[in-house]
Symmetry: C2
Subunit: 300 residues, 2 copies
């Protein structure tokens, strides 16, 4: 392995949003979400995706987004972010006091068409208004690109296509681009090639990896991109949102397992692993489910 | 990543032995074991660890070792191996017609003392007779070294200690040394350092990785050693022997997940992944358990 490994990695904790949003079953109480967020802060997480401002009709689990954001007692140095897929969502988020938001683009035309019924270019155009309003409100915008290593409808995605979409979002003003292997089909060589294409256009410090573990490949794929110098990783405490027995589950990689690997490689995260495990166990107890973190199982 | 990745990797399939031996519950019928072995052959596995010649009093699951070996219809080009921890086991294996055996050493003094009540050096001395008899019978011996990245009793294990024990077994005549992360605590940097120490004494083509997934680190650890040129990997179909909810489970990495990663990296294995998944699903159906392979779950 080369010497390019970062000394420190920033973890973007997506469990409270991406995770809970993709868990089946009852809507989780706002108080439980807030307690989870508090425990994540205490474990040393500095970036917590906390809510999504979307239609409660489509995503009932995120129906309390304003209450969650309003209920957080912000800790200095911690970023609390919300997903805002459109201007209406952004207005709601701003009203609730959000300081950072995220938007979603796809690298796959078929995925974009099937999911939001428009082309990739059209979907990006629609974000112009969101970007403008966010800029006016002095709120930073993080950009997600989905299906960067494969699409459920068209299969392989060319690294250049990923780079193109990522670059458009970066040029639109997203300060960081998170590269999502939405269906978890990637492998290390593919991850490396995809990152090479993207980092040809966007500086490495502005890139993040959001790799799903659907095929068990998230950690080796992360290792491959860390080796190239990438230093921001999205993950989900307890593997929230990665229900292993649900078809089409999002398959989030567990933050505990990522942190264990990083610490074992002498890469700093600022995270206290036992406290993180305890935060994960808390939410899984509330959901009445087993943790999907192997580290939590081994040490718990 | 460097250009050292092997073009082809040999998979040593340990599910029928190491896997079943560590599954809780009833003894599996000989006919089921034989059907599993047949399906593994059909999936393209060229090396199948099939049985263990140990006391049925201690390991009832392996009590039919002679029947299993005797029941195999050998396919050309496939190696069927048995574990033979002592001379008595070896005699039984030879009688049953085994052509290749394996012995076990530990890199940790405490592990050796607690498990077999003697020092590492004593345990290796005891293998002298096994090696001699195997040589006389023209049977190849594979050597396992356990606890290469950590010990449940003494924690860290020095890479030099691993290299020392591995080298003794290699000098004794083992043609291949399999390096076992018995409790799955390793991380990629540790794996690389351990391999560097061992490959300073033993040529890389004579080394194998036997990494457990207890902490979810098996695939990244494998990626790290493959990058150094290692080209033999031990794994267990369906993750047999890795019951995620049993404390102290062996945590074998699933062959399906390893093969998915390798094929995605354009590394040949000679294995047909759908047939492998089907072999794994067969044995898990027989055991009445869910597969532990994420690839099998995603594609199954």
């Amino acid at each position: 392995m080369s010497a390019k490994f970062p000394r420190r990695v920033k973890i973007v904790e997506v469990g409270a949003r991406d995770g809970l949003q993709n868990e089946p079953g009852d809507v989780v109480a706002t108080s439980i979400k807030l307690e989870l967020i508090r425990r994540l802060e205490q474990a040393g997480l500095s970036y917590i995706e906390a809510a999504s401002f979307v239609s409660p009709k489509w995503v009932p689990q995120m129906g309390d987004a304003a209450e969650v954001i309003g209920g957080i007692e912000p800790k200095p140095g911690v970023t609390y972010a919300a997903l805002t897929p459109n201007l209406k969502g952004l207005e709601g988020a701003l009203e609730a006091g959000v300081k950072e938001v995220a938007i979603f683009g796809a690298a796959s035309e078929s995925f974009s068409q099937k999911n939001i019924n428009c082309s990739v270019a059209e979907s990006l155009n629609r974000f112009e208004a969101v970007m403008e309003r966010a800029k006016a409100a002095d709120v930073r915008v993080r950009g997600y690109v989905s299906t960067v290593m494969g699409c459920p409808y068209e299969g392989e995605i060319a690294p250049q296509k990923v780079a193109e979409v990522a670059d458009i979002m970066y040029q639109m003003g997203c300060y960081e681009i998170s590269l999502g292997d939405t269906i978890g089909v990637g492998t290390p060589l593919k991850a490396k090639r995809m990152l090479e294409a993207v980092s040809g256009k966007i500086p490495m410090p502005q890139l993040a990896a959001h790799f799903h573990d659907t095929y068990g490949q998230a950690l080796p794929n992360l290792l491959a991109v860390l080796e190239e110098g990438l230093a921001v990783v999205d993950s989900s405490v307890a593997g929230l949102g990665g229900c292993p027995y649900a078809k089409g589950a999002s398959g989030n990689v567990a933050t505990e397992d990522v942190v264990y690997m990083l610490h074992g490689m002498e890469i700093e995260t600022g995270i206290d692993l036992p406290k993180l495990i305890s935060a994960g166990n808390y939410i899984m107890d509330q959901l009445g489910r087993e943790t999907r973190s192997k580290v939590a199982r081994a040490l718990g």
